[in-house]
Symmetry: C2
């Protein structure tokens, strides 16, 4: 039994809906059902074709997070991974459908097809005009394996976006239906799971518990994928990018119309993939696509169609039909108010396919940029004697410092101080000892040189503290013109004072 922040498995979807209402005051619950609808639905439902999606819970933010202007109008939530009841879908259709009709966007699972289909049949008998599209973007399994077609997974979100934009433009039900179907035909998705998902109240599966075990093409309910594999110990990100890109690109060759090289990608976090790894994967996927001469013009990335706590990622590629490329991009770019939709990254290319990006800025990395000079000076010989004496004292004190630190700290103080003193001593002997002339050095410069030696050798907190003190001393000399009143407080910047040095 996994640790889960729920109250009971039986009530978790009810609680999820209550949370949704707090997070989005523009939502409204349909009394008696786990279904939510735009709260202004009665005002807008005769102006536009309305859109309903839904299915089992556990895929948040899908689908309720995508309700808003130019996207979904309502969502029906089943229990975790279970299709919603016909009654709840029918109630949602009754509230949501207006005079321009309603489109149901359904993922290709038997339960969803039957329940949404049944509810639509019943609604039609009441005179409601409605249509239904089935999303089957998962290309994990060869279609020869069955007649059921691909499962509906993350690509569904792109279908919501496109259908929502077309509906929002005032199109007819048939036009919205056609645009949704065209999007469905041009999107293919492949996922990889590093772990399975665990349902509330159910024991965790040990299916992927082996150290490097992964499953390519696992479904978003943990259904069997294409094959088991091992994650390589290095370049795992590059390997997974290859698996995902090869799988989706190959699947797209069966698309029934001419495609351009410009594509839209959606990188979906299946639940618990760390954001750092998401960013690494985006880099590898885009690099690989570009190396194959594909030009990703929009990138959408984030947890959009999750599978509870599954650690994994999926890649959806939406091909842009040559004859309506601009149209599809405009639909994707149209603004929405749905809280969980994310604006895509817009990439542009030259006619030669070179990415146009202002992605690097160079700074003069010159630590002597400002010439340090003060009105205080010292001969290098004097400085050398002082530094030599101090350094030797510190080096000799190493055992004592180590002993004291082992009583109140982690015992490395002596070694760290010795390391710094040795470096400083060496630097001074190299810079100053061999000169036969009397050289006068600016005290601000001197402090800076000491700080440089400390910076190059000590590390850790004590190194940084000492370096900071000497930099501050240097600045202090620069600023002073008359008499200097030496006080240790003078050299400690405000933000260090709580350390009570």
């Amino acid at each position: 039994m996994e640790k889960k922040l729920i109250n009971t498995p039986e009530t978790c979807v009810d609680d999820l809906v209550s949370g949704l209402l707090y997070m989005n005051p523009k939502l409204c619950k349909i009394e008696g059902y786990n279904a939510v609808v735009r709260s202004d639905i009665l005002n807008i439902k005769d102006n536009y074709v309305t859109l309903i999606s839904g299915g089992g819970s556990g895929h948040e933010p899908a689908h309720a997070g995508f309700i808003g202007d130019n996207m979904l109008s309502a969502a029906v939530l089943g229990n975790v991974f279970a299709s919603p009841s016909v009654a709840s879908i029918l109630a949602t259709i009754r509230v949501t459908a207006g005079s321009k009709g309603v489109l149901l966007i359904v993922k290709n699972y038997t339960g969803d097809r039957l329940n949404f289909g049944m509810a639509l049949e019943l609604a039609k008998r009441e005179g409601i005009e409605g249509m239904l599209v089935i999303v089957d973007d998962d290309c994990a399994l060869p279609t020869s394996k069955g007649i059921t077609g691909g499962r509906g997974i993350a690509g569904t979100v792109l279908v919501h976006k496109i259908a929502g934009a077309v509906a929002g433009s005032g199109a007819s039900l048939q036009e919205v239906f056609d645009a949704a179907n065209s999007a469905i035909h041009s999107v293919r998705t492949l996922g990889v799971a590093l772990t399975t998902c665990t349902l509330p109240g159910v024991k965790s599966s040990t299916r992927l518990s082996a150290p490097y075990a992964i499953e390519i093409g696992m479904g978003i309910h943990g259904e069997p994928g294409r094959e088991n594999a091992e994650l390589p110990t290095t370049n795992a990100a590059k390997y997974i990018a290859e698996v995902l890109v090869d799988g989706t690109v190959t699947a797209l060759t069966t698309v029934p119309f001419s495609l351009s090289k410009e594509i839209v990608i959606l990188v979906n976090n299946l639940g618990s993939l760390p954001a750092l790894e998401m960013s690494v994967m985006i880099k590898e996927i885009v690099d690989l696509l570009r190396s194959k001469s594909y030009l990703p013009v929009r990138i959408y990335a984030g947890p959009l169609m999750t599978s509870l706590d599954m650690n994994g990622i999926s890649l959806s590629i939406l091909s842009l039909p040559l004859d309506r490329q601009e149209k599809v991009l405009a639909w994707l770019d149209s603004p929405v108010t749905a809280p969980s939709w994310i604006s895509g990254s817009v990439l542009a290319y030259t006619s030669d396919g070179i990415l146009i990006q202002n992605n690097s800025i160079t700074v003069a990395n010159d630590n002597n940029k400002s010439i340090i000079s003060s009105s205080f000076h010292m001969s290098t010989n004097t400085a050398l004697v002082i530094v030599r004496t101090i350094c030797q004292t510190i080096i000799e004190a190493e055992p004592l410092l180590s002993e004291y630190d082992s009583l109140c700290g982690d015992g490395d103080c002596g070694m760290v101080m010795k390391k710094g003193a040795t470096q400083l001593h060496h630097d001074f002997e190299t810079m100053f000892a061999e000169s036969v002339f009397t050289i006068i050095i600016d005290c601000a410069c001197l402090c800076d040189i000491i700080a440089n030696s400390i910076s190059a050798s000590m590390g850790g907190t004590s190194g940084a503290l000492l370096e900071l003190c000497f930099r501050s001393m240097s600045s202090y000399f620069v600023k002073q013109v008359g008499n200097i009143i030496y006080s240790i407080e003078t050299f400690i910047p405000l933000h260090l004072r709580v350390f009570k040095l």
Copy 2:
């Protein structure tokens, strides 16, 4: 060693930065460093106070995701959980600071304080005007435990937002500094971890591997928290909400100014808490706060300051000082272009503290809403004979159906069909058998009654399929006026045809 989608632990932050640049073309990398800055920085840096944040990586989307208009100007990225180098911070300050000055927003960790502090000292010597604030919102540990103060965690994001809005309004460096400090003083955060986090290339800790072990107040680098506890097996969400609300509310009593009951909350996903559980937690936290007469007027929720793959959640409460409540809310509401900032949920209350929300809509749940009638009728006696015969045949065929299904399916077909037939038989005998009159029934109604019996008894795919067929037949009768041409295809809606019944 956890499975991680990276290439090597050494290069993962470089790759992370490359991914960031693909995801946000308005960013620009500072050559030679893992630091990113708005690409229009040279055009805007003399118009506004600029803001820099940063720290160790592993907390994505913090901090680079918060770069944009009215929020951060630049972010410096250290290695995973390690402070960035002074050189990289200094380079970032040089690019980012303009004539109005630069503010560094630093989380309260020794390394960050020292390195950001040092870089600022060096920058100041070059004539750059800059200030630094330290965020210490974590209230997990009593301040009596040390002199270092609270750690900087998720509340930092609210400081970014407020400081960014004030800077964006054209305020002076001192004003931005004051607003940031005021936000720091009024925000307190407490987290709970269900698992620790695992660094790239490092073995997973077994610290929280016991079945219900959790740690209250764990830091975002896995630092020790306030106490270990056990997650209750029921009402875990309510329990954690209590821990978080009590901890933060108590900590806020030490805030040095008068507070209103209206508060802002930020519910942070520490990395791998499923979105479903996030929504349940939001419900419980807001319910509990309201029961204590606190009025959350803004709710921000999502993975904002993560800790790699840590499963856990933190609650930040920002108190609104009575004398500048409206101002702070306006700063929080000001629009930003930072891709990872999330618009908060805006909740309003009556003067009696009642939540103003249009959160429920009632639909007439009447399956007889449309009265079914067709021009085709049959006597109930005839219907009873037909149904009885068919049902008895199906019941008797159970062993044969089971045998066939066990050869090509999961073997339950016979039992499911028998269950449906038994129910249908029973329903018909009850409804029609005892009548002594000849009753004429509408054929559309008859089909609907059969569908109801199937719906109530069979379940599964076969039940839904059969129900759908009878509903469709019923609709068909309703629509027909003249002769009926019976064809099985007639009764199967389009979206079921791929099943090739």
